[in-house]
Subunit: 426 residues, 2 copies
């Protein structure tokens, strides 16, 4: 791989809807912390559509994609036994190792990284953006790779109980959509305002042991049945549902969940996934996949007009935030992992005050969520959701070649297909 | 107290800035759940200023005030031993009992009340609003009093260790400002995104025991020093600071706090309060009261430009929310207890996403916070903050008569005085 070698890459052209496959130079090490990865598989993600549609204000032609899995083919001078004081992979990563990357880079050394908030690393950059070439190519340069990458060739770093035989198409889900789903579900369930439902103890006793008040009526069984709406049933929405259901099954906590999407094809996929994974949950929970209007009616009935305990928004559009506000109860929680753009938030301060709304916004710290995501990936291996490509309940609809790139973007944008993976060597 | 008896009351007249003291009928029992309370003391609160200034879109002449303490003089037919299945006070409250009320009523029986979210009770109504006559009067009608009121004549219901000899002017702080401060501080410290700072464990290990990741550098002592900004140093802001400092002293957690206000008189009061209460905290913390510009400079230095872990907003104005966003770090928390109005939130979705902001908005469930507020009230009794009226570090500047009502509203609105209490019988 010397200077001047060419590779195939999926490139975005301004202003919008223009995807071309081109020969571009193979990337080279630019910084001592860089690694060059030969891409085995790269996926198309809903977040890619923001730039595709021309919503991002982007003008620069660049290689697309932020989900990839591959093999290390070159490392910068920072790597080796002299790097013992740095994040693990600087001293252990080798050429030939199989790796998966989160969708943004992170240095592992700044304060945000030390806190585990890797998505907002001081060096955070999104792959497949004007600032950093993406993974829908045969080779990719990974800056800060010693903290960014996860070494799949080192099974002793895998969480206990994860089968080491996971398919590459399954492991690719670690790049973005599964950690983002885990992040959304974890944020929702760990919010203090949800604790009274989960613990059966009223606020603030749910948080502070010496704050008992005996002046209200006790909580009923119906009160502590958690009611959640998930808005958006694309691949991330489905991963959110899977993660949430897994966490609730682990707690054996009774629940009712509404998955909301405008497209029947996505609702149908969600139902198939639910049928595949709902084993422990039988009797503990209900799950409905429906349209926004049906969601309002169903939640109105279930909660007698009070609204649901939490809403998870996975769309990235003000209409989804407006629906979330409408569905949530007072003192409810809205967890938003959708990628939002320039429009002002569609809320007044009075609306926020009057409903005591809590919001958690933003990008998943995917690298920090890998252990939890791995655990789920292992658990559902035999259940086809993250497994066989093209099965009814599989998140991945097809693996295709770069020749299909432009058509794949078009069909994915229209909601005609679910998740698509590219094999750059096909 | 038969029909037609008159009493003195402080009344608001539209459109704005028009406060009159008038003779109005003494209220009567209207509903079986009502109590009539003879008011001993009633306070003027920052939230009263929204209507005072004509910001609330209010047109109805009404009696002002939502902070009062007094004595029960009449009870509806719901009270008595036949009410054993209802909230405690329906069966135990007696004529002659001394009571304090939170600033809104709550039934204690709806789902919101069972959860402890009493501020959003299905029957929630604010005293001193067009919907319910206020406490700046000689008598007040309290709907749902068996769940709303706290019985001060029943020391066995007081939290352990609270001295029963608290002055009425201290106990009056339970009506709104102290519970609101406790609520703000509790929301801030219990937010999941603050847990890495408090526990020293990175996200998501701070929440989920099996999610260890060893790929980032360990947290430093500097990282886990909690940095908080409190925007607004009126009485609620000061109560917030007192509550936060108390919780941090109990944890022996190192911290740096900036209190922000435009008015030097409020900053000066805050400094006096801090000097009075900072005993356990010496060496564990720093506290600065300053202007917004100084806050930006100080926090920039303290956090090397990263921003603070959490911001508590106690103003109720978009300028305060904008400042909060500017001061908070990525993955930081903004707790807003300010009363917000019609303007749209001054944020785009992109801003929220790009900084992974979490927001907690809304009204304090004061009745549910009473036990925690009581605990703090007892703790600081000898330290003048909630004690002697008019002392340098006292939250209460003066106790005056209704003759001073109009002038008191004017001076309070201008920030010329701190908290004012009315004695309706003076």
């Amino acid at each position: 791989m010397g200077t001047g070698q060419l590779q195939k890459a999926v490139r975005w052209y301004p202003p919008s809807y223009d995807i071309r496959v081109e020969d571009v130079p193979v990337p080279l090490i630019q910084d001592p912390d860089d690694a060059i990865v030969k891409v085995k598989l790269a996926a198309l993600c809903g977040a890619d559509l923001h730039i595709y549609r021309g919503h991002g204000g982007v003008e620069k032609i660049h290689t697309c994609g932020h989900e990839f899995i591959g093999e290390v083919v070159a490392l910068g001078s920072a790597y080796g036994t002299h790097a013992k004081d740095r994040p693990l992979l600087y001293s252990t990563l080798k050429v030939g190792d199989k790796v998966v990357s989160p969708f943004t880079i992170n240095c592992g050394e700044c304060q945000a990284c030390r806190f585990g908030f890797t998505a907002r690393c001081a060096h955070s950059t999104l792959f497949g953006s004007p600032a950093l070439e993406g993974g829908q190519a045969q080779y990719i340069r990974v800056p800060k790779a010693g903290a960014t990458l996860f070494n799949l060739s080192d099974p002793k770093t895998w969480p206990n109980g994860t089968p080491t035989s996971l398919a590459d198409s399954s492991l690719l889900m670690l790049a973005d959509i599964l950690p983002t789903g885990v992040f959304a579900a974890l944020q929702c369930l760990s919010h203090p305002k949800v604790q009274p439902v989960l613990t059966g103890k009223p606020w603030p006793l749910s948080l502070h042991p010496n704050s008992a008040t005996t002046d209200s009526a006790p909580l009923t069984q119906e009160d502590v049945r958690l009611t959640v709406a998930i808005i958006g049933l694309g691949p991330v929405g489905i991963c959110t549902a899977v993660s949430l259901l897994d966490m609730l099954a682990a707690r054996r906590h009774p629940h009712r969940i509404v998955g909301v999407d405008l497209l029947e094809s996505r609702r149908e996929k969600m139902r198939a996934v639910y049928a595949a994974i709902d084993q422990e949950g039988r009797g503990l929970g209900e799950f409905i996949a429906c349209s926004p209007e049906e969601a309002k009616t169903t939640l109105g009935k279930w909660t007698q007009g009070v609204g649901c305990d939490a809403v998870i928004e996975v769309v990235g559009h003000n209409s989804a935030l407006t629906l979330a506000y409408e569905l949530v109860k007072a003192f409810g929680v809205i967890t938003s992992v959708g990628v939002h753009g320039e429009p002002q938030l569609p809320f007044t301060g009075r609306q926020m005050y009057n409903k005591n709304v809590s919001f958690d916004f933003g990008r998943c710290p995917a690298r920090a969520m890998f252990p939890m995501a791995f655990e789920i990936l292992g658990k559902f291996k035999r259940q086809d959701v993250f497994g066989q490509v093209g099965e009814r309940a599989s998140l991945v609809d097809r693996i295709t070649d770069f020749g299909q790139a432009s058509e794949s973007y078009r069909a994915f944008d229209k909601g005609e297909v679910g998740k698509i993976i590219f094999d750059p060597w096909k």
